[in-house]
Amino acid sequence: MDNKRKTALVVDDDEDYLFQMEVNLQRLNYEVKKAASVKEATAILGENRNLDLVLVDLMMDNMDDGFVLAHKIRRINENIPIIMTTSVARDTGYEFDSVKGENREWLKIDKILNKPVRFEQLKTVLATLKQVLPGE
């Protein structure tokens, strides 16, 4: 079992949300990097090409920043699991539980979560994305 502490990047323009996710992910044994914009996230990704997980907000400065960033991440590393979080699922129609096959290929994301993301929910989702589950 790989016991190395894993690293997650959280991208969101809401400072409170960044703080909450940091606390939650630290409890799940992740080292957490935070970015408040696509620009900041891109800079962090440039220096850390082997992140173990990225959580990215859909709507930041632009409506579709999250998708754009997801594509960028995949170009850097095809295997980083990406979870997209959003509070506008119902308004935008981006409402699906799991992202599979074609959708994954197209959207470049592994999972969409509705905000607010609860600790238990995050834990469950990370467990289903087996490859990102940190060593226990």
Binding site: D14, E15, Y17, V23, N24, R27, A36, D91, P116
Partner: protein
């Protein structure tokens, strides 16, 4: 509104004379709509009985106008009106009949006919009736178009509003989840930062709701205006005093440059909203150890208020967006500043009430001056 500026007319009458006469009159006819800005021509399709008209109605594009004879060999104009045209709001119908009785007129109008033309009619009567009908249809379509546009603007506004309201709810819910999981242990005092953050977000949400109410009250004219003789200088001092604490917290110095007294005709509440928004922005978007200067002076028309800060300033492209609803200029420097994004929309709406003007003068990284002139002699 009319495809290729052509109004399609269906003439439904078993008398060939009526059909051909109407066709030749109307094909040479032109109607001006939209305050004479647009002219319409006519394309005439003839139908000699109910069947051919109804079949065509099912196959082809709907006509804009129908000249409908009451008495057809295979049916009755009133039945056609009721069965086939009553649910088509976008078609306007003129009934033609030889039996020009009041009873008939009432009957057909009740079923949705716009006008009533008695046989035999003169070319002028026909033209007059068609002109009236087309203008009516034009206005109706224009109103529908406008309503659709307003609905879509409203939807856009509500979508953004919903997003703005959901963010603080999500933040507070997220914090409650952390507390429920006793992330910082079981002592409540460990959570004071978290509780403080929740309070801030709820405060921001309350401000958004208040601003929204102000905005809609002003927009709808529901807000009662109390225009009296008021002292703009005294109100400014009061407003600045209210911001003393927040200025101290942000390490910003406040300065007033105003005469002892400056009387104008105005509404104290409205003036207070303007001051509050300008001062609060100047404090929020300032730098540490910065300064906010509020200058008030008399002008020819009324008064001039200028609020200057030494803050982060605006990029040129952002200045244009400043007065749009929910515009919050997002960048590294403003990300952690709370705001409803409605403040300056409200200020602009109030300024409009005074036939006033707003000037923005800003240098990115240096600071912003907002100058508002109010006309108080109206």
């Amino acid at each position: 509104m009319f495809k290729n500026r052509i109004c399609k007319i269906a003439v439904v009458d078993d008398e060939e004379g009526i059909r051909l006469g109407s066709k030749s009159i109307l094909e040479a006819f032109e109607v001006k709509v939209d305050e004479d800005k647009e002219s319409l021509n006519f394309q005439i399709d003839e139908f000699s009985d109910k069947n051919s008209f109804v079949n065509n109605l099912e196959k082809e594009d709907d006509p804009d106008l129908v000249l409908l004879d009451c008495k057809l060999p295979d049916g009755n104009g009133i039945d056609i009106l009721e069965e086939y045209l009553s649910d088509k709001d976008d078609i306007i119908v003129i009934i033609i009949t030889a039996y020009a009785t009041v009873e008939n007129a009432v009957k057909t109008t009740k079923r949705g006919a716009f006008d009533f033309l008695a046989k035999p009619f003169t070319p002028d009567q026909l033209r007059h009736s068609v002109r009236k009908a087309v203008n009516h249809l034009y206005l109706k379509r224009k109103a529908a178009q406008l309503e659709k546009k307003q609905k879509s603007i409203r939807f856009e506004f509500l979508s953004v509003l919903a997003h703005e309201l959901k963010s603080p709810i999500n933040a507070v819910e997220g914090y409650l989840d952390l507390m429920e999981n006793e992330i910082l242990g079981d002592k409540i005092n460990k959570y004071s930062k978290i509780i403080g953050n929740c309070t801030d977000r709820i405060g921001g949400m309350r401000k958004l709701i208040m601003d929204l109410l102000d905005l809609t009250r002003i927009e709808s004219g529901q807000k009662k205006r109390e225009v009296t003789r008021i002292d703009a200088a005294a109100i400014l001092r009061k407003a600045m005093a209210n911001f003393k604490l927040s200025a101290e917290k942000n390490k910003v110095e406040l300065e007033i440059k105003a005469p002892d007294k400056l009387e104008i005709n105005g509404d104290e509440g409205e003036l207070m909203i303007i001051y509050n928004n300008l001062i609060s922005n100047a404090i929020k978007y300032n730098r540490e150890n910065g300064r906010v200067t509020a200058k008030l002076s008399k002008s020819e028309q009324g008064m001039e208020i200028e609020v200057e800060d030494t803050g982060i300033g605006l990029k040129e492209e952002d200045q244009k967006r400043l007065f749009q609803e929910f515009t919050r200029i997002k960048n590294e420097k403003t990300r952690n500043i709370q705001g409803s994004g409605l403040g300056l929309s409200i200020v602009r709406k109030i300024t409009d009430l005074y036939q006033g003007t707003i000037e923005v003068n800003s240098k990115y990284g240096k600071g912003t001056v907002l100058k508002i002139k109010l006309n108080s002699s109206y």
